[in-house]
């Protein structure tokens, strides 16, 4: 509390408030435009934050995260396209309801659900993070290693599409991260005698290529994609008390599912929406109505994906492990600002740690206001031609890739990963596990090897230290999760729209 209240007050001072305003607005608009996603715009923003104050940079990025996750519901409802991958499940019921002549009602439910999910999960973020960081300070190399292993298993096991392809993508990311200087010993490896490769494949060129450029190439191929329009009227956007009374159990349950899936490292909004939608259908007395435009479906999906945003911030600020692909970018921002992500963030730079928490709260409230007032305008912006958007996005990718090391070499790397990412999407290999593997593998490797240095080359403490052992058990269980889940029927998401 002693830090949280001043941090919230700080968001209302001019510069942070401007960042929050900009971030949320841009996030919502970008989230609503199909072909642009939250991950893209946050990746493109990362190089711009080089010379910002660290708290401002994080508030900007967190606001974009909140905004883009919510904005996706507008295009999902009105265009039958997920503006951002996390809005995938919202299409199933949002679009039919809108087509039935109730677009305002569908949007209203979505917006209210997003807001509620954000608020409930924010409580967890604010209440859970400081004590968790307190405990995590005691975590040694083996604990962190086992935890990272859970994250690596989760992302490949739960990623959309086939598990083998998820793992394949993850291991490719791992291998790509190994090029350059070995973080444990300083030795050079996998450089194939190319001096420029001694820096390794850096964060920005890799991420911009994999997450942004690949998508842009896909957008160019699909430039003829027709856009469905729904007759738009925005009456009755507010949920009535009666609606709320009917939905509150759904909201609460979906918030909890969303927060929990968000907290699990490596997976985020899309998985949360799928899980919560499935659960809502299983609990429903009228499961056959799901997919035909039921309010329960919209509420379940939208509550959960926003809840996952705050949930995913928990491992990021307490452990330095990204809770979702977008959190990888926030992690990058922390590192670029010379902050050490992990439990000591609360002690070393409380203004940043609490700044993130406060930013998430204020952005969520502002998102609600802006969505209620601005949706009619955004609904028009969504139809802007992609031909105008694509070239500037590529130019921003170039600047971003160049800015990290002042080398055109990195720009070529960005393009190469863009083509690779596009080919992977064509082969229905999700790119999410790649990014997570790329980020987590160096952490896992250094921690394991540091652990060996601490415990005199013995692996045994991995099993005898309780926290580490518990995480290892979870990691193994996670690997077998898909086989357990196979018997259950779950609505499958198209593989190219994997988790973000």
């Amino acid at each position: 509390m002693e830090f949280l209240l001043p941090a919230i007050a700080n968001v209302f001072t001019p510069m942070p408030f401007l960042m929050m305003l900009l971030g949320t607005t841009i996030g919502i608009v970008v989230g609503a435009i199909p072909g642009l996603s939250g991950g893209m715009v946050i990746a493109l923003t990362l190089p711009l934050t080089f010379f910002m104050e660290s708290t401002h940079a994080l508030i900007l990025m967190v606001s974009m995260y909140v905004g883009s996750t919510s904005g996706g519901l507008i295009s999902a409802t009105l265009m039958r396209m997920p503006g951002t991958p996390a809005a995938l499940m919202t299409i199933l019921d949002g679009f039919p309801m809108a087509k039935r002549g109730q677009p305002g009602r569908a949007l209203g439910f979505g917006i209210m659900a997003s807001f509620a999910g954000g608020m409930v999960s924010w409580l967890f973020l604010a209440l859970l993070s400081p004590p968790l960081a307190e405990i995590a300070v005691r975590f040694g190399p083996y604990e962190i290693f086992s935890m990272t292993l859970v994250a690596l298993m989760l992302i490949s096991a739960v990623s959309a599409g086939s598990m083998i392809k998820g793992l394949l993508s993850g291991f490719l990311g791992i291998l790509v991260s190994m090029v350059g200087v070995d973080p444990s010993s300083g030795a050079l490896r996998l450089t194939f005698g190319v001096p420029d490769l001694e820096t390794g494949f850096r964060l920005l060129p890799v991420i911009l290529g994999m997450l942004v450029m690949s998508q842009v190439i896909g957008d160019i191929v699909n430039i003829n994609q027709p856009i469905e329009r729904v007759q738009t009227s925005f009456r009755s956007m507010f949920m009535s008390m009666n609606d709320l009374r009917r939905q509150w159990t759904n909201i609460l349950r979906s918030s909890l599912i969303g927060t929990w899936i968000g907290i699990l490292p490596g997976i985020g909004g899309t998985t949360a929406a799928i899980a919560s939608y499935t659960t809502a259908r299983n609990f429903s007395k009228t499961p056959e109505k799901f997919g035909t435009g039921t309010e329960d479906g919209i509420v379940a999906a939208e509550t959960a994906n926003n809840a996952a945003v705050n949930g995913a911030l928990v491992p990021l600020i307490t452990l330095g492990i990204p809770g979702s692909v977008i959190d990888v970018l926030l992690l990058g921002a922390l590192i670029i600002h010379n902050l050490t992500p992990g439990p000591l963030l609360f002690q070393d730079s409380p203004e940043v740690a609490y700044g993130i928490i406060a930013g998430a709260l204020v952005a969520n409230v502002f998102m609600f206001i802006f969505m209620i007032l601005g949706t009619p305008i955004i609904a028009r912006l969504m139809y802007v031609s992609r031909a105008y958007l694509i070239p500037p996005i590529i130019v921003f990718c170039v600047i971003g890739a160049f800015a990290q090391g002042n080398r055109l070499f990195d720009v070529w790397i960005m393009l190469a990963f863009g083509v690779l990412g596009f080919l992977m999407m064509k082969a229905k290999i999700p790119t999410g596990p790649f990014v997570i593997g790329y980020i987590l593998a160096p952490i896992a490797e250094t921690q394991l090897r540091s652990g060996l240095m601490v415990y005199d080359s013995s692996f045994l403490p991995l099993l005898t230290r309780p926290v580490s052992a518990a995480f290892l058990v979870i990691a193994v269980l996670t690997l077998f999760w898909p086989f357990l889940m196979k018997r259950r029927k779950a609505p499958t998401a198209p593989a190219h729209l994997e988790d973000e």
């Binding site: 010993s185 010379n338 240095m453």
Partner: protein
């Protein structure tokens, strides 16, 4: 009134000197590039950017000084780039003695003679710290305990970095065996010690204040005691012939004209005399130590020899034989 005029005169002085040396030749007539081999926001970068602002404010240079970050491979990428640029006096490199650790472990990829030393400006010495939960009150306590239990105690370190070299020198001089544990930068070393997984680490002087009562400094590795921690004895006092400091130097491509090198060295001296740079060094716990010409070259030779002496052990730790 008089006082103000005096102040204005004092501020104008460096301009006069700057102009005088520039008049010797046409140099410099275009922007001078200063390459920083580490990413924006780090220690090397903040020194360069503070200096750039000071030079601009006091108009010490008639042309712009452009700071460019080219990070990667511990600085090797930038060093190679500078080595290969045209030696026209418009490109300089700022790098600390991590450069010598790369020389000693053959990671640089070229001979150090390919670069021309310009000047050393900044020294920031390192000290051995232990968590305050450890019972050791002096470095002798630590050595006695470590001798009784070889290999039992661990130090958080950055394997292959300059502190790794100084640990090996300390172990050699005291006849102890301390286990190295990879942590990374000083913040990560602090985190590892705080978690109770390791027992000591070499820290940068900023941690004397930042570490508060959670850290206890036992041994100062600078050539003499530091005003920031006057009670901390130096290794030399204890008869351990080890010094370890982060020495920041400026370099140019080998064939850069001597005139340009002297001009830039002089510019650095003027910049270090500004209030801004004094404040910067005070804030970071480092000191302005200017060495140029033969004095600088001699110091470089000595440092490189120190790194070379323990390099085989570092290479073994890196898995290179």
């Amino acid at each position: 009134m008089k006082l103000m005029r005096l102040a204005a005169f004092a501020a104008a002085l460096p301009i006069v000197f700057g102009a005088a040396s520039a008049a010797l030749a046409d140099y410099p007539e275009k922007p001078i590039k200063l390459i920083i081999p580490y990413r924006a926001g780090g220690g090397s970068d903040s020194l360069a950017r503070t200096m750039q602002a000071a030079i601009e404010k006091h108009k010490l240079l008639p042309v712009p000084l452009v700071v460019t970050n080219i990070d990667g491979a511990g600085g090797a990428i930038a060093a190679r780039r500078v080595k290969d640029t045209k030696p026209d006096g418009y490109t300089f490199l700022q790098i600390h003695n991590g450069l010598f650790s790369m020389v000693a472990t053959n990671k640089l990829g070229f001979d150090l003679s390919e670069l021309k030393p310009v000047a050393m400006t900044t020294q920031s010495c390192i000290y051995v710290a232990v968590p305050s939960t450890m019972p050791w009150k002096s470095f002798e306590d630590l050595v006695a305990d470590a001798k009784a239990n070889p290999g039992k105690f661990k130090a958080s370190d950055n394997i292959g970095g300059i502190t790794h070299f100084s640990w090996l020198q300390i172990m050699k001089a005291t006849g102890t065996e301390i286990g190295m544990v990879q942590a990374g930068g000083t913040a990560k070393r602090f985190a590892q010690m705080k978690g109770g997984h390791t027992h000591m680490a070499q820290m940068s002087p900023g941690w004397i204040k930042r570490g508060g009562d959670e850290l206890r400094g036992l041994l100062w590795l600078g050539p003499e005691r530091d005003p920031a921690a006057p009670d901390m004895p130096t290794a030399l006092e204890k008869g351990i012939d080890v010094t370890s400091c982060l020495n920041r130097r400026f370099w140019a491509p080998k064939d850069t004209p001597q005139e340009a090198v002297d001009y830039f060295a002089n510019l650095l001296k003027q910049a270090m005399a500004t209030e801004e740079m004094k404040a910067y060094h005070k804030k970071t716990g480092s000191h302005i130590v200017i060495k140029t010409g033969a004095e600088n070259e001699k110091a470089i030779e000595k440092e490189v020899a120190g790194f070379r002496a323990v390099a085989p052990m570092v290479l073994k730790a890196m898995g290179i034989n």
